[in-house]
Subunit: 311 residues, 2 copies
């Protein structure tokens, strides 16, 4: 009988209750070769959304904060931005204009801040930002705005032979800059929104350059297509927080093997945010209905988590 799980102090930041019990039972059965819900190690694929699932996304997606900060950093090399929208608004901290940015304007900002450089150069810029920038509300590094209970879940799964993947609408290179250190998830287990790269030769060396051309917008059904493209197996565990994750959750639930589907519900207006009161955040409507109909685990951040953020 193969059992690799630890037996004490599992998921310490999770309150006792249905969510914790079902997660622990699922993993204990998955790793117990005598159980009819045993899952061979190679098939223990777990997929997690990132924004709002593993870390905070309020009041604004962290990658947008990064984008605006990077535009400010690059401004000295672009004197024309002083008079050019959408750049001007950022340099002047003109919040009214920023709130009304169109998709096209956001695209221009993303292109200016994320492309024209190699993935390695971008990673260095993002890493520097993660090492220094502070979240405007929580006044701490963005990498400290991750959810402590989820860090424990990732670790618990890994210790039990699961391979954790991120499958997120966030930029893949942006996530790769912090996820290995923060989540213990290596770059090859991160799937995200991506732009195309082109190969060039510089000083006799082959280097890639990030281009503005979209490769994949990793949301909704595209999450499932990318899981198939990158992983080639149906996951046995999926965790998300919005209707953008619904296809991925349904796909996981459709597996012939035992599976576990988890929805994180932002209902904690004191320690974090209750999304029903905040129309900008990732919408969770269909997902709530389906979670109840299909008996998925609905995690109440307010009731199921002892704490939200790490100390």
């Amino acid at each position: 009988m193969e059992t690799t799980g630890k037996t004490v102090n599992e998921l310490p930041s999770w309150n006792n209750g249905e969510a914790k019990t079902r997660i622990l039972n699922f993993v204990k059965n998955a790793t117990d070769s005598a159980s009819k819900s045993y899952i061979p190690p190679a098939e223990r694929i777990a997929v997690f959304d990132n924004d709002g699932t593993l870390w905070n996304e309020a009041p604004m997606l962290f990658q947008l904060n990064f984008t605006f900060d990077r535009i400010k950093n690059l401004a000295p090399q672009h004197p024309e931005w002083k008079t050019q929208q959408p750049f001007k608004a950022i340099l002047e901290n003109d919040r009214e204009t920023m709130k009304k940015f169109s998709h096209k304007e956001l695209g221009l900002l993303l292109a200016a801040s994320h492309t024209g450089i190699s993935p390695e150069e971008f990673k260095a810029a993002a890493t520097q930002w993660f090492d220094t920038a502070q979240h405007p509300v929580y006044k701490r590094l963005y990498t400290k705005c991750v959810y402590q209970p989820q860090l424990e879940l990732l670790n618990y799964l890994r210790e039990n032979g699961f391979k954790n993947y991120i499958v997120s609408g966030g930029g893949v290179d942006f996530m790769r800059a912090f996820a290995e250190k923060t989540y213990g998830i290596p770059p090859e287990q991160i799937i995200g929104t991506s732009s195309k790269t082109k190969l060039e030769t510089k000083a006799g060396k082959a280097v890639l350059e990030k281009t503005p051309e979209l490769q994949s917008f990793d949301d909704r059904a595209e999450k499932v297509s990318n899981i198939n493209l990158h992983i080639g197996r149906r996951p046995v565990l999926a965790c998300g927080n919005s209707d953008g994750d619904l296809n991925m959750l349904q796909y996981t639930a459709g597996s012939a093997t035992p599976n576990l589907v988890i929805l994180i519900h932002h209902d904690d207006s004191e320690r974090e945010m209750a999304y029903e009161k905040h129309p900008v955040m990732g919408e969770l409507k269909e997902g709530l209905t389906e979670a109840k109909a299909r008996n998925w685990i609905l995690v109440s951040m307010k009731n199921d988590w002892k704490k939200v953020f790490p100390e």
Copy 2:
């Protein structure tokens, strides 16, 4: 000091010589934390081309044999194929017409044989073919037309903490049907040519369908872009056999960390095939020049390998 390598009987089907010695030295240093050529485990990424690098590709790419066989299998459901090219030529085994298939005609055959079904259904069809079909020249299963010395190299690398990836122009779903069993390479470490998938609901379950729309033709510079997209790290070892691999080899050689680049040279007309004499196979011209100029390992199948195929 971390040393995980075995010390006896490494690469038994490789003759002693420069190629074997350099591979063994690279791996011994990579795994010796006291060496200045040490490579941390997380960075030990090795990428291999497949056709002509890990298995035979002569006289025709195996995937084409599969394609033609599958067209024959599907023919009863498509009576119109009896009079319709390019299908007619395959059903009549009309080799003269088959030799002249255009890219468009090959595209029609690939679409008819590879799409309109789920990745799982495709995998089942390919697995059945791998379990039964015989190579026309070697009269053995296609999965027994792999190169024994390369199986040993993959295993040796894996035992020393390397993560082996396939990065091939072959279809990703086709390779996933045999590579785990044959090479010990799981689906999530296979990068190949892919078509787009679309998500559908069948009997209340989320299922993917393979469509004929090309997602990525994984050759030349696209191999490098896909390495970045899927792995997100520059490999430290790359192995190929044709100019289609050259970009991937150059990219690996451009790493700041120690790296090893290996080219397999088909120079064994007795036991396999000498490609200079065969214009259809993967061309190796620029690669040969560059291998010499950059001191890459050029593996002579004739001289460096004790045997070509497994018993």
